[in-house]
Each structure stands twice: as C-alpha cells, then as structure tokens.
Assembly symmetry: D2
Homo-oligomer: 359 residues x 4
C-alpha cells in the first residue's frame, strides 16, 4: 500500500472548534499526514493550542498538538495541505487565498460546494470529479505554476445520505428521495444548541439544511464530462425535512426512494452490501471496509450504538422494506463529525494523494 515517506505536513484552519478538534484527533496519528500548524481566529492566534481550545472530546488532546502555538489563518503556514474547518462566513475568501498560493485545500465549509469548478467529493461516490480541480487555476486567474486547489466535502447530512444512495442510483436508477433527518447536537458546532432548547424537545428546523440536502446530492451523483469540463447534475427530486434531536453525535435519516427499475428489499440490501469504492481499493487509511454496513436487527441503526461503525466512517443502513408511497424505505445513520465532517476531508485528501493530484 502507498505510504508517503516522509509524512506530508498539513495545517488545520479553524482548529479549535468542534470539527477542528476532530481533524486534530484524526490527524494526530495519521500514517500519511503530520500536523505542522494549527490556525484559528484572531482571538486564539498566538496562544498555546491547549489553552486556546476548549477541548470537548472524551479522548485526551494529543500531546503533540497541545503545545503548538495557534497561528492566524493566513497563507504562509507550513505544509502543503490545508484542512479547513472554518465557519462559512469566512471560509470563502480564506480558502481561496490559500489555494491561490498553491495549497491543496480540503474544506468542510459550505462556501465553495456549489462552485462549478470545485468538486463536491465523496471518494467512494464520485472520485472522477477530482479532475475538476485542474481547471480551477485558469478559471480563477491563479498563477498556474502553483498547483493549488479547493476540494469541498458535502454538508454532513448529505455526505451520509449520498453514500447510501450511490449503489441504489447505480443499480436501480434513483428518481425520487424523501428524507427526514434527526441530527445530533455536534452538527451545530459549539456552543450550538442551548440545553434549554433541546432537553425534552425536538427542534424541527435547521437553517439552510434542507436546501443543501435537496441540491448537493444531485451534484455529487452527477456526471463529469471531462471533454466539456462540465458537470451534469443527476436528475433526482429530493425532499428533505431536517430536525435537531438530543443526541450528541450521529445523524439518523429516514429515507424513502423511488427507483427507475423494480427492486425488492432483498435486491436493495444486496446492492448496499456489495458496494465498495475506489478509496477502499486504493487502501486509503481512513476508508472504512465496508463503507456501508447493513444491519439485520429490527430496531437498528441507533445513534449511540452504531455511530462508531468503521471508525465513524461507515454508514449503517437498517429496516430496508417496501414503502407504501414510493418504492423502498430504510433507516440510515452516519457519524456527522467523522463521515460528515473531518473524516470526509481527510479521506478526500487521501484520495488526492493516492491519485497524484496533490503535487
């Protein structure tokens, strides 16, 4: 298996937040990468990471990062690769600044997801879209020689959903998707949702989430026309209803689909179970095997019991059965800060390394 020697230096932008901490957790002992810089907002820059960061994970903060000085989010950081956990309000410009200067930027933010020259990447689903980065420099007037680019990962609910939809789209042709999400608190960042708002409660609304879940999968499942350098979005009607519930981690999604070809629940289960992807084939260290776990239990997946499947990178499907309105319905779960956030970008970077896209 490929293993870069020496390790590749990476910087984390927004390293003190919820997703930034997951990046630290995932990258601290990564076989390919080495954290060489942690950066955050003005208020944190100049402080020791261990002091600037309100660590909220139950595993201990890695010692190698604790004493690093937090840097400002400006090009000039060491490392060739930048992982961005910046809030969308600032990510747009900052990420572009880094890419222009030649960094490979793997972003968790929403800012560039729907840009026509930015791949919205899930390595198991649309690895060929990675080619889209080749045109970014020319499109945006960046100095060509630098070779920097931006790769976006989808919204957390989308990332989980689209991974499960991929084999159904390939095998049976997806036409319609209805999804109701029950999303975990960590998806809203820190401090995020007030305890008073979620204890003994559900909040049936998450700002902008339904729009993202309705549109992003069509881009991800779209076809990349390399000749025309054009992405043709998939023609799937998606209706999403997004809710916040009192779980810590793990987005649960109730999904119904209409398919282009007749398929029984057993057919769907087979398609899900047999599915694998390029990062598994290439041996990317963060790629879960299998990427989709199918449970036979009558009452699974459940967030607390199943969110850590495949190190938080697999999604778990259960209760596959006929839908009385569309064709098939099922329950889907994924870990929102691994598969839905930091882990997704790390896997994107691994694919880019393995495919030789990062120079």
């Amino acid at each position: 298996m490929l293993k870069p020697t020496p390790k590749i230096g990476v910087a984390i932008l927004g390293a003190t937040g919820m997703v930034g901490q997951r990046f630290v957790q995932l990258l601290a002992d990564h076989p390919w990468f080495e954290i060489v810089a942690v950066a955050a907002s003005e208020g944190s820059a100049g402080r020791r990471y261990g002091d600037a960061c309100r660590w909220g994970l139950s595993m201990q903060m890695p010692g190698s990062v604790r004493d690093m000085e937090v840097q400002a989010c400006l090009p000039g950081l060491p490392g060739r690769i930048v992982f961005s956990a910046l809030p969308s309000s600032v990510a747009g410009t900052v990420e572009e600044d880094f890419a222009r200067e030649g960094y490979a930027v793997f972003s968790n933010a929403g800012s560039h997801r729907m840009d026509p020259d930015v791949p919205l990447l899930i390595p198991e689903v649309n690895p060929s879209h990675l080619d889209m980065v080749n045109a970014q420099g020319a499109n945006r007037g960046w100095p060509e020689s630098h070779g920097g680019f931006i790769v976006a990962e989808p919204n957390c609910s989308t990332a989980i959903l689209t991974l499960a939809l991929k084999p159904l789209h390939d095998c049976f042709g997806l036409q319609q998707v209805m999804v109701t999400t029950m999303q975990a608190l960590s998806g809203a960042g820190y401090p995020g949702v007030a305890g008073l708002d979620i204890l003994d409660n559900v909040v049936p609304y998450i700002a902008d989430e339904e729009e993202k879940v309705s549109t992003e999968p069509c881009k991800i499942l779209g076809e990349w026309d390399e000749e025309g350098a054009l992405l043709r979005p998939a023609d799937i009607a998606i209706s999403a209803a997004c809710n916040r519930v009192a779980t810590r981690d793990g987005h649960l999604e109730i999904v119904s689909v209409a398919l282009g070809r007749e398929a029984s629940p057993a057919d769907v289960i087979s398609a899900l179970r047999e599915f694998t992807g390029l990062p598994q084939h290439l041996g990317c260290p963060t790629a879960p095997v299998p990427p989709i776990v199918v449970s036979d239990a009558p009452d699974r997946p459940q967030p607390r019991l199943d969110r850590d499947a495949g190190g938080g990178m697999a999604v778990v499907v259960g209760r596959v059965r006929r839908c009385q309105v569309l064709d098939i319905k099922f329950v889907l779960l994924g870990h929102n800060t691994f598969r839905g956030a930091a882990g997704a970008s790390v896997l994107n970077a691994e694919l880019a390394i393995a495919q030789g896209v990062v120079r």
Copy 2:
C-alpha cells in the same frame, strides 16, 4: 350549552397506568362526568388508589380519587360509562364483557379498532361513524335491551395525524401521505423505554406502530353508508416510519402529502385554520377551539413548547411548504396522552352524550 344534571357516573379501567392517570386528571373536575369507580389488574384491586398507583404526573393526584378502593375490571362497577385504558392483551375480552352488560365503553386500547362494527372515532373528523354502534348488539348477539357498545379511539400517532389530514382530504382530496414520527416516551407506557436506551439516542422502531398509522386513517376518513351499514375506507396510500425520541410528551410528525387538486401552501394553511368540527359546535367541554393551530414561526411546533395547546387537545401545524416529491409538506404535533389517548376517549364520550347515543 348542554350540561347533564346530575353528573354521569363513569368508571376507569386500567386506572393506575400512564393513560389511566390522564383519565383521572381529565375526569376529576369534569363538568359532565364524575368518577365513581377506578379499576385495575388483580395486583392492585382492593388497595387504595393512592397506594396502588405510582402517580407520575406533575399535578397532584386529585383528592377525590386518592382514597377510592381500586376494583377489579369486571362488569358490576357503578356508572353507565366505562373508559378503558387497559393494555391490548386484556382489553379485547374485558371491554366486550362490559359492553354486553350495557355499559358504553370508550376505549383507548387497540383491540377493537378495526372491528367492522366499531367506530374508530375522532369527533371532529368522523362523527357520523358513531352510528356504527347501533348494530353492535345484534352483530355480536348481545341482549338488545341493554344498549351497551364499544367506541374505539385511534392509535395516538394516528389520532394526531388524521385530525390534521381531515381538512386536506375535504378540501383537496388526499391521495398519498408520507409520515415520519418522533414519538414521546409516555406513548410507551410505564416503565416503557429504558433510560439507557434513549439517553443520547433515537430508536427507529416502535412495534406495530407503522401498520396502525398506515391503516387506521383510511377507516377514519372512510365513508359510512348508513343504508348498507357499511364503512368504505378512504383510498389513501400511507407510508409511516415511527421513531422513539427523548421527549416526555408530544408526538412530532413530519408529513408530506399528495393532493387530488392543486393547492398552494397558503391554500393548505387556510384550510387548516378554518377547520372546525361538530364537538366544537356542540360545545363539548373537552373540544379545543380551534382544533388545529397553525404556527407562523420558522421552527415550530416543538414538543415542549406546543404540546399543551388547547389543553393538550389541539394539534399544532407549522412549516407548511411545498414538497419536492409530493405536493405539500409540514410539521405536526399533538399531545399523545391527551389528544392521542385519554382526552380522545373523553371527547368521544362527550360527543356520544351530546348526540344522545348513550342512553
């Protein structure tokens, strides 16, 4: 307004459980009814209600009931009306025994809901179905003169859903319904769901619930052909996905509908807001005015904030908007132990009194 004088004596079967306690709460100061007997299982019979019952409501146990002796669930109890909060495992036979002996039985149990001669009653939705009781005695070979009968109320999720569907069915013709529920702990009775199973978790399965929600609304929204003494179920395809979440009371339902006629969100909101029912017209004391509350807030209804609307008897609708797959989607909430259980049967009994069906 009608007000029976003196009050009508009522007995509560299964009076010590969760739903039984709500019956006690609702009937203790009811303007028409007076609790004359509380009955429960063998283990409780003979004990003082205050001792036999593990009272779980935050309001105090009504003093008038505290010292009553718990009776066995056998005909011979005082009162003409019986409210049944029995578990389905025993309700079938016991309720029939009481009806045969001339009691008007208003049941919260599932046992007789789909019997062809038992009305599955929501007073605002299908009051005419109450006529079905007239044939029960003959059908079942009961002594005719006694006049006893059984009226069933729907499953809790169904009761809430169908009340909101009624104006849509009337105004636009319902064709398809997709519903994902997030149901409260009290819906599972006591002790019900273990704390360990629901803390930081969602359980995406409730035994038999999806079948009930898929079939009961068609009976309720069906047409009663008085001539032929025949109920024609409504022809609506309903797909339900039922989940247990960490809320105490209040079932939240995410609903999408396909309609027979074009309707904008504004049309749907008008239909919901303008809806009223026979029990409101008749002044039944438990009938909420209005029966359906429509919220304009972007993030409502929420269980903790909205479950007590209309004394727990109104349902609250919010977020009415277009659905990308069906036609219209919205968020719906109702109190599962009021509108979905004890309150539903009390309102059924009030309608039966007001319509002269209880003799």
Copy 3:
C-alpha cells in the same frame, strides 16, 4: 384580605430574558399589580415585546404584553414599582438610578444583595429586615422625599435553602450546613448551558455560586437591630458544592445540618411542617400555603414531579433522616425561577405593599 384598588402599575426591567418572562407570567393576571411597562436592553428597545422576546415558556405569552413596546431601562417608566431581572453586569447602577428617582425596586440581580443597607428578603424568613430600606435614601444621598428603595432577593439556591433552614434555626439552632446542589438549566439563563455540555453529563461547577450559598443565608438569618440600624449575620458555617444537571427547572439540594439542640428526624419534620410565615398570615397572593411541604415518599422530592408545588413557590423536603457526620440530613427542592427568582421578588413586593412600605 388586602387588595389594592386600583391595581398598582409595575414595570419589568430585563423583561425579555428567562426571569423576565417569569415576571410577565406571574404579573399578567396578578390581583394587585398591573404591568404598565416592559423594558430591556438597547437591542430590544423600541420593538414590540412579542417580537423582541424569544418566549421560552410552554404557557402562551399573555396577550396584554405581546403588543407593548419594549422601553429602555431608564427612570421615567410608568409605575411605582420596578421588578428587575437585569444581568448583574448592569443591574447595580440601573437599579440605583430607579431607586433614587423614587421607585420601589425589587431586584433579582446579585448587585446589591450584600449592601449593608439593602434587605436580602425572604418574606417568610426575615420580614423585619424590610425596615432596612428606611435608611437607604440617607445613606446614599438620595432626595429624601422620593421614598425609593431597593429590596434584593437571594440567589436562587440560597432562597430555596434558607426557607427550609429557617424553622430549623428557630427551633434547634443551626450551627453547620453542608449542601450539594443539582441545579437546573434555567438557572443559567438563555442560552446558558450548551446542549453539548449537559447531555449525558453533569458539570460540577457554577461560577460564584458556592460563595453566594455560603454567605447569603447568614445575612438572611441574621438579626436586625433596629436601634443601631445594624444587621448582625447569623453565625453558621456553610459549605456548598454546586453542580449543573440536565433538568429544566427545579434546584435539588442535598442538605446536612448540625444543630445546637438534640433533635430527631421526627422533631425536624414537625418543625418544617408547622412552619408558616408573615406573608401567609397577611394573605399575600403569591405566598404558598404551606411554604414548606414535607413528603413521606422514600424517593421524593424530584424536580419534575415536585417543582410546581405551591405554584412553584413552596419548597419540598423529603428523606429527613439522621446524618452519620452532622446531625440531620434531608433532600430539598424548589423551583428556581419561581421561588428562586421572579416569584421571590413578586412576593417581596407584596409584603412591602401589605406592610405599607411602598408609598
């Protein structure tokens, strides 16, 4: 019973926050008072109360307040009485400004609690301390004729604790108190504690709380020497450990006490049960009867079941038993936003009216 006619106009400062909302709830239909102004911070001033306030109570916002225009927190507001739910950061100056201008200020804030000329009032415990207000004007150089003053209520945990300690101090002489609190989320205001911090967790620290609970009761239980215009604090050693738990409302306190005289658990129960206070005698409308409820159940009080005792104004004691280290231990519960906040100030104002202190 005394009933001022017409009602006395009152203003609420900080009316849009958690405690401010409880003031609105308590005062909207108060038999003596009428809300004539709601005031809040710059950001809210000028807006309609219904728009400026993120209403978080399950009861509906009173219609009479919904359309009021939120005012700035400056003297000149209508009304003779001002209830202050301001944050401590601004309460100090603002409350003094109002008092100087002749308003009777009843404050929920911590700013003036330990001022030597401000009574820290619990009407059942130390009504005579109300006389302390007479010297405030002279002390502070306010224009004498105006008659304004400040009355403080204790910290929420203190208010609940000290009410229960009062009969023990009177009957047996309190010497030492150990208290461990388990405090509700609403005590931290809104948004307060993050959902991520409290789900599946306890936070064993609340800033400054232990100091307040250790010192305030000694002032409240102290003796007011009217001649010398001097308050002699009670000589009681109090050790507090304060924790935040995942409850919405209701502070639970585990208390052990060392007493000056031998007392059995039965003696203590009698003292608690027989206790009553001046506001009960005077018929103050917010005074609970009895102020202290003693439960015989082996596992009570519990926040969810007992916090609403006496309309949230009674405290509930249970599990009175011998302590192996001090003398007696017991479990104590009170509603932190009624008895511990808004209700406390309303009762303070009622006492001041009934005693003729408000002119």
Copy 4:
C-alpha cells in the same frame, strides 16, 4: 512482567447483563485470560451468546464470544477462574457452590461483601486482605484440597470513593466523610431506570446504596491482623446521599473529609498525585497508571469527558479546596462499570494471579 502462558481459562456468570457484557469486553483480548465459558440464567442457557444477549455497548460484540453457547450457572464449567456478574438474589449460593468446587470466584455481587472471611478487595488499597481467602475453606467446611475461594469487590460508588480516600487516610488520617453521589444509569442494570423517570429529572434515592457506601469503606480501609485472622474496620464516620442522574456511565461524587492532621489543598493534591499501588508495581495489565488523576481545570471531572481516564480504571479528582464545615472538599469521578464493576474484578483476579493465590 509476569504473563501466564498459556492463558488462563475463565468463565463469566451472568454474562448477558450490563456488567457481564463489560466482563466480555475486558476479557475478550486480555493478555492473561481467555473466556472459555459464558453462563447466564435458565432463560438464556442453551442459546448462542449473540442471540441471548441484548448487547448494549457501542463497541462491537467480540466475535470469539458471539457463537459460544450460553451455559447454566453450575459448577462444572471449564476454567479455573469465575467472574460473577450475577444479581445478588442468586449470587450468594451460586458463588459459594463454585468456590466449594475449587474455583477462584471474583464477584461483582453484594452477597458476600461483608462476610468476615471474604476480602472486599481493591488491589491498590488493601492487597493484604487477599490473605483472608486462606481461611474460607476451613470456615465453611469446604474440601480443603480444592483451593477455591471468593473475593468480593465493593459496591460501585464505594470502589471509586475508597480508592480516592486511601492516600488521604494514609497521609492525614481520615475521620469523617460526607459524600453526595450523582450516579449513572448503567449502575442500575438493564432495563433499570425508566426513561420517563429520569428525563428532565433526578431521583434522590437508590435502594440500599447509602448503607453500602457508609459501611464498606471501613472494611476496606481496615487492618488485617494475620495472626488473629481478624479484620479491624477503620473507625471513620461516613454519611452518604445517593442520587440517580441522567448520565449513561460515570459516577460523580461530591466529597468532604475531616482529617486527623492539618492538610492544605496542596498537601491533599500531592498525596493523591503521588499515590500508586501494588498492582501498578506488579504490572497487572488492567491497573491504571496513575490510579488517581488530579485535574487542575475549574470545572472537572465531568462524567462524559473523564470517565474513560485510564481505560475507565482510573478515578479523577478535581476542585480540591477547603471545606467550611469539615476540612477539605473535592469532586471525584469514576467509571462505574469499569472501576466500579467488571474492571474491578478483573484487576482483583490479576492481583491474585500475580500474588500466587490462584493455584
């Protein structure tokens, strides 16, 4: 370091329950032990472990155990060592049956804890008490040659508390202890506490718990007089108040102590930090290094963040400060199903192996 070769076969009694599952988790890859039998009640015996057990841990069930046939809890099981996670109602007799037949029984049950010839063992605290097993056979009339015995572990709250008290007792002389616990749901087994009882609530009572916490530490901290074969309990007055809170794992304890010698918080912190024990010295694989972690953070330990310290086997102390009533107070946390249950017995067995007590 000692490492038995080949591994020692062990059986788990009560293997399907909450604590039994933790035994399976801890022993599945244990360097010294190998699970050779899983046993449970009649209802489970004869079934496959994977079918009989409602696995409630987020880690996957170890594959090596999944297909084992569950046995009845009767002597004759393979293995020399038996771990008992039986309920106290049956543990007394069953454990004695196994010991009589020559098994070394390490029990999590309460049945034999206070037996005068059974060591109540915490390897870091009272390893010398292990000698007590030598007299068990003679005392109880068991066939001498067999060499079986029973070693008990303390109640979960006691185990955590006493480990932290040990260095204080050694260094300063413990005289009085006041402890208020906030205990996790997993301590009550499965299904244990109903979701309805603990959501938005605290239950200030756990049956028999306070008695255990008040008495067991005196036995554990007592002196074993080998000559007289007599255990002299420590003379410490302990008052406990035990509460159930809505956490999954991790018992939090608020502790105040009176000491025989003057000690500052800094002295106490030093004593705690410097403490180590025999199992650490012997290199027992389950022994945490250090056994007591002291946190400097103002708001720690917290259950969610700190319960996994030392693999769940360390206890974490924070907020060491002066007590206004006794001498020193602090916050203490330990994992109730590791240090307080399964892990404790595994460590007991490791000590017994390392000391040559298991023959």
